[in-house]
Symmetry: C2
DNA sequence: CCGTAACTGAAAAAAAATTTCAATAAGGTA
DNA sequence: TACCTTATTGAAATTTTTTTTCAGTTACGG
C-alpha cells in the first residue's frame, strides 16, 4: 500500500494525519526492518516521544509491524504476509513470500487453540557471509 | 536434560558452577517462558547483575534460550525443538512439538542462504479465552 | 474562519540494562 | 588439607530505553 492509502486509513479511523506522523511513516517506508534509531534519524524534526507514540498508533492500527528478532525492536510496513531470513553473522534481514507451512498441520497442532496468525523466522548465514 | 547434566556442561566448558548460577538455573527450570522478573523472584539471593550475566552465559552455551514474544524477553531451558502457541488475549504460552514446516520447502525458500535453524510462533486464542 | 478535541514535545521520571572495581570464592595443585 | 590463581560476584554508578506529565499547539469538521 502506498503512503496515501495509509494516511487515508489514519484519517478514516478518526486520527489526525499530522506532519509528524506522515514523517515517521515516510521514514518507515524508506526501508523495512529499521531500528528505532534508524527511523529517528530519518525524521530528525520529530520528537522522540512522538515517534514512540506514532509507532504504537500505527502498530495498533495494523499498518506497521513491530519485529522482535533480538537486538532490540525493529519495524516494518505491514505489507503482505511474509517471513524472514536472518543472518547470524551480519544480522541482515531478508524477506521471502513463500510460506513453507503445511496448511493441513496448522489447525492440528492447535488443538482447541484458535489459530489466527503465525510468524516464522529462519536463521542461518546469508550468501555474502558464506 | 536434568540439572546435573547442565551443570556438568558448565564445568566442562571451563566455567565455574557457582551457587548463584545453579540457583538461576533452578529458577529457570521451575517454569518455561518466565520473564526476568519471574526468574529473579525465584532466586532472591542472587544479584541482578549476576542474573543478567548468567542468562548471557547460559544462552551463549546454548543451554537456555531467550524468547522475544513481545512484552519483554522470556527465557526457557533449551530442550527439544518445539514451537509456541501464544494467546493474544491472556498472554499464555503453550508449546507444541510437531513441526508443521514442510521440510522440502525450507531449503528452497533459502536460495543461497544457509538455513541453520528456525523459530515459529502461532498466535490466536487459547481454549480458556474462547 | 472558529472551536475544540487531538496532538506535540521538553522535561522529568521510571524502567531496563551495562559498566566498574574491590572483595570473594571455586576448583585445580601440591 | 592448605594454598594459589583466576573467575566470579554484587553494590554502586552509569548508560540506555521507554513512559509520564502537562502546558502550548494544531488539524480539521462544522
Ligand atoms: Mn519483513
Ligand atoms: Mn518453549
Ligand atoms: Zn550475513
Ligand atoms: Zn488465553
Amino acid at each position: 500500500m502506498e503512503l496515501e492509502g495509509i494516511i487515508g486509513k489514519i484519517r478514516g479511523r478518526g486520527y489526525k494525519a499530522t506532519p509528524q506522523r506522515v514523517a515517521v511513516l515516510e521514514a518507515i517506508s524508506a526501508e523495512q526492518h529499521q531500528s528505532l534509531e534508524g527511523i529517528r534519524s530519518r525524521c530528525p524534526g520529530v520528537g522522540m516521544v512522538t515517534v514512540y507514540r506514532t509507532l504504537d498508533l500505527l502498530s495498533g492500527l495494523g499498518l506497521v509491524r513491530r519485529l522482535d528478532l533480538g537486538d532490540g525492536p525493529r519495524y516494518e510496513l505491514a505489507e503482505d504476509h511474509h517471513h524472514h531470513l536472518i543472518c547470524e553473522d551480519c544480522g541482515s534481514v531478508a524477506e521471502f513470500e513463500q510460506c513453507p507451512l503445511d496448511p493441513r498441520q496448522l489447525p492440528e497442532v492447535g488443538g482447541d487453540f484458535e489459530v489466527r496468525a503465525h510468524s516464522l523466522e529462519v536463521y542461518g548465514r546469508c550468501s555474502a557471509c558464506r
